[in-house]
Each structure stands twice: as structure tokens, then as C-alpha cells.
Amino acid sequence: MSAVIESHHDDHHHGPAKGFSRWLYTTNHKDIGSLYLWFSFIMLFVGGAMAMVIRAELFEPGSQIVSPEFYNQMVTNHGLIMVFGVIMPAFVGLANWMIPMQIGAPDMALPRLNNLSFWILPAAFGVLLSTFLMEGGAPNFGWTFYAPLSTEYAPPTVTFFIFAVHIMGASSIMGSINIITTILNMRAPGMTLMKMPLFVWSWLITAYLLIAVMPVLAGAVTMMLMDIHFGTSFFSAAGGGDPVLFQHVFWFFGHPEVYIMILPAFGIVSHIIETFSRKPIFGYSSMVYAIASIALLSFVVWAHHMFTVGMPIAGELFFMYSTMLIAIPTGVKVFNWLSTMFKGSLTFETPMLFAIAFVALFTIGGLSGLMLAIAPADFQYHDTYFVVAHFHYVLVPGALFSIVAAVYYWLPKWTGYMYDEVLGKTHFWLSFISVNLTFFPMHFVGLAGMPRRIPDYAMQFADYNMIVSVGAFLFGLSQLLFLFNVLKCVYYGKSATAEVWEGAKGKGLEWTVDSPAPYHTFETSPDLTNPQTNN
């Protein structure tokens, strides 16, 4: 009898395997979460290096360092890597780590699929980056790869690009299927949908968005592939196709995609703000409904990226108003975060600083978005640095800051050690100052008419561009501090308690397990049906 129990015990509490094969074959959600996060971290520096090349070229007017052809490759790959290689994998990594722990599940629902969806990702980016070494150079048609620039006029490496996008899409779709199944099937008893942590909610909805639009992206690149190699004319006017159709298909994917990159951030920031305000989140259910309505609306606004293609007035108006409508649920969220902080006993540890900066700066990005949504005004702003300023405000101090905040917030739980708070705050202030130095002046040069994606500019933009470049270099360097802080935490950090943050126990199941979180958690699911244990 006891022998049976013994072996049972061994079976479930073995530690991780050793060496590289641990990572290659792992099906453990925490391992896979770490893999995703490290991958994303590395890609942040790869994509960041490309941004540095861009800003070095734009430091002064005139052709400085790189050829216009190479500049185009930098712009394109910077965008592709940051979107598909940094923001998205980082959120998936956080989902892997946190969702099972937050819903009281032992692992993801489909662990082997999980392993596959991670490991094809480095393959995809390997393919993409290898095009730099090929004849014709890397993709150079912008991250939005409009046809016919990406078909008739594309470098021969476009086929590798298409292949890479297919793999990234497959990875995202598999990841999403896994996340939805985990959330729907593996919640601890008593955790009803409306009791789920907001990060879980935001990911549930994000995963549905991914499944709805990644296949459309796959369709778009498949059509490109056929136009290039099989003589079809989806996007070629000569054969009866239409390049504008490409833009419709792309943005049908593209707009929901930008919400894919922000909804999980909403979840993260909600958790951090409630923890450091020592209050429950204000308006939980309105938060859920806001996320859901943003997701639904995101399917009917895509042509706000296309106001200048020659749409009829009715189309302009429809997409203008539907876009503006999104500001309402977004406003609800901002209001709820502010209300959560209102009269809370606030403390300002690094994650909270990043979360507050998120709220403030993301809102600036939302406001410039609203300006761009005004169709007649967009004719002036479109394809200028004003758009660049807009989406960098929502993506860098928006999505990226939320990821950084999440790493600081959960790092002690993952590693069992505290990061260095002084270093963390230094990292925050340097990032905060430099991010504004980088992206705020872009509004001005954009309004004055500086076009995006051009390696040179008129003299009148010189001063602001120099400021922007200095800000960008500083921001780039500051992120090395982040890397240093994470490594310092892993190797030399002080031990963290299970609760980590004062009062965090009441803020979610992840704070009820030890720090570091054991390799296997919630092998028997916690029972939340009893209101006493349900914090």
C-alpha cells in the first residue's frame, strides 16, 4: 500500500530534467513560459538594434550611415520583429506562466502542443532573419507589406517572409487554442467566469481574436504567394485583381491585431494597480464588458487605416464613427484604474510605477488615435510621423511597459528572489524620460508633414529629429539595465516571501503558492466553492 503511494508521489513531484533537452522537450507551462519570455527578450534587443540603426540614420538630415535600401529593410524588420517577435510572444509567455496558476490548474490543457507552438517560433524568426544574408536582401516593404510593393516589386526573399509569417501564425493559433481550452476546461471548482482574474479574462478574449484573424493573415500571405509564383491576380490590376483589396484583407487582420497587443496589457495593469492600491479593482464587471466590447468593435473599424485610398463618403463616415466608438470602452477602463487608485493606500514599487506610466501614456496614444480617426484630418496625418507617434505611444509605454511591469511584478514569484528595487526605479525613470523624449516630438514633426519610412528629411525637421534620436539611444541603453536587473535577481537576489507584495495573498491564487513557484502547482485544484477560502 505504502509503496503504491510512494511511486505515485514520485511521479508527480519530479523536478525538471537537466540540460538543454529539458528545454527542448519540456511540456511544463512554467518552462514554456520562461522560454517565450526569454525569446521575446532576445528579440527585443534584435529589433531594438534595428531601431538604433534607424535613429542613427535620422540623427541628421542627409544620407548618413546606411543606404536607403538597407534603411527600408531595417524599418520593415524592426516592425515585424517588435510585433510578432516581442510583444506577442511576451504576452503568450506571461499567459503560460500565469493562467494555470491564476485559475488553479496544474498545467495547460495541451502541454505537447504548447511545446510545439513555442519551438516553431525561433524557426520562423530564423527564416526571417536569414533573408538578410540572401541575394536581394531582407523584406523591405514595411511591416504592413502592401501589395504590389510586396508582390511585383518585392525582393526574391519575399517567399521566405511568407513562409515565416505562416509559421508565426500557426504558432499563435496553436497557442490560442491551448489558452482557450485551458481557461474553459481547467478552472478550479468555484471559479466561475465572472470570478476569473482580469488577466485571464483579457487573454480569453485575446485568444479568440487571434483565432479569428490570424487565419485571415495567413490567407493574405497565401494570396501573395499565389500572385508571385502561380500567376493568379488577387492583387494585380492587370489580371482583374485589386491592390486595395490587399489593404482590406490586411487591415481586417491588422486592426484586431493591435488590440491583441493591448488587451492582455489591460489585464496586467489591472492586477498591479489593485495590488499596490491595496483595494479590489474598481468596476470588475465593467472591465470585462469593456474588453469584450473593444474586441467586438475591433472587427468593424479596419478601414480607418485606409481613409486615403478613395473610399466613398459613406465609408469614411462609418469607419470614422465606429472608430470613435472604441474610445468609450477604453475610457471606461482608464476611469476604473483611476478610481481604483483613488483613496487607495498607494505605494510605488517598480511594477506600480510602470503601471501608472502605462495609464498616463497609453491615454496619450489613445487621444492621438482619436485625432487620426477624424477622416478629413487623417488626410493630413496619414503616413506621417504623427501616426508613428500614435502607435509607438500605445505600443511602447503601452504594451511594452505593461510587459516590463508584469516581469517586475511576478519575477519574485517565478524566481523566488527579489529584484533590486533601486535599479528597478532607475530603469523606470530612465525609460519614462527617454520614451517621451523619443516619441513626443514625433507628434510635432508629423503634424508639420514629415513622412514616415523615408531615410532622409527636410532641414526644418532637423532639431526635433536629433532630440528623438538621443531619446531613442537612451531608451535602448536603459533596457540593458532591465536585463542586468533580471540577471542580478536570478543570481544574486534576496529571497522573496510567498506573498511577495504586502496584501497580495488576497489578490489571486498565484500568491498562495511558495516563491519560487514549485515546478508543479495545483496538482489538486484548490476548492473555491467555499466563500471562506475564496479570499
Partner: protein, 174 residues
Amino acid sequence: MGQTKNVFRLLLLTFGMFGFGFGLVPLYDIFCDITGLNGKVTGPTFSSYDEELETRTMKVTFVTLNNKNMPWGFKSDAPQMKIETGKDYLMNFTFTNTTTEPMVAQAIPSVSPGRGAKYFHKTECFCFEQQYLAAGESITIPVKFIIDPEIPNDISSLALGYTLFDVTEQFAYK
């Protein structure tokens, strides 16, 4: 357990959306056809209009463009004509293959303003087919058209533009 069922449903959704992506192609064309958006011009079928409707005169401009490196000569007989709505007109276009190779070309029409496109009826047009010309050969083809008298009054002129594409390579596929 509901798990397999969930996975199955999500897979179905994935494939469904992949199909939907391709579905956007005909949807887009149908949408443009119905609304006349995008300057897409309706086919040769033209049902007769109400004889009672008042006709008026307006201007039609002809624009010929060569795409990319298309070397052909491509011209209309006149850049412009005054027309009366509801009447048949004809304009000649001349194509010249200026190269030393046989080539196939396709002209793609577009009407602007886009709102006027659905009132521009072409009863005969070279844009319905591809043009094959031997080296140095030249050909003149007419476009026959009627402007629908129902065209809104605030449209005082229409432009019919043609872009000429080199489709010799695509032609080889067929």
C-alpha cells in the same frame, strides 16, 4: 470531457476564418459592383432608361496610362468630348506595340468620380478582353458608351481612364 469538443470547435473556427479571408475576395468584388465604388465599371448590359427623363450635356475626358515599364503606344483620338446623356457615343483608341516582340496587353478601366461609375455604361470595350499584337503592329478599337440620364446633376464631367498592363507573362500560364 468537453476538452476535445472545445479544441475541435476552435479548429473549425480557424479553418472557417481562413476560408473567410479568401471569401473577402468575391465579397469585395460584389460590394464594389453593387455600389459602383472604386470606379469599377459595369459590364456591357444596359437596360433601357426612362425615355421621359431629361437629358443634358456634359463632358467626358479620356485618360490613357501605361503601367510600369509597359512600352506600348496607347492613345485616344481626342482627349475630351461633349456628350448628351442617354445617347450612344464612340471613341477610338489606338494601341501600338513598339517593341520587337509579340506582346499581350490588358487595359483596366476606371471612372472618376467613383460615384459616377455606375452611370457610365460601356456597350463595347476592348477592356473586356486582352490584346495580342505582333512586333510593331498597331490596332484601333472603339469604345461605345452611354451615360445614364439618371446621373446626379452635380456631376458635370466624367473621366474614363485606362491603364494598360503588360500581361504577356501571365498569358503564358494560360
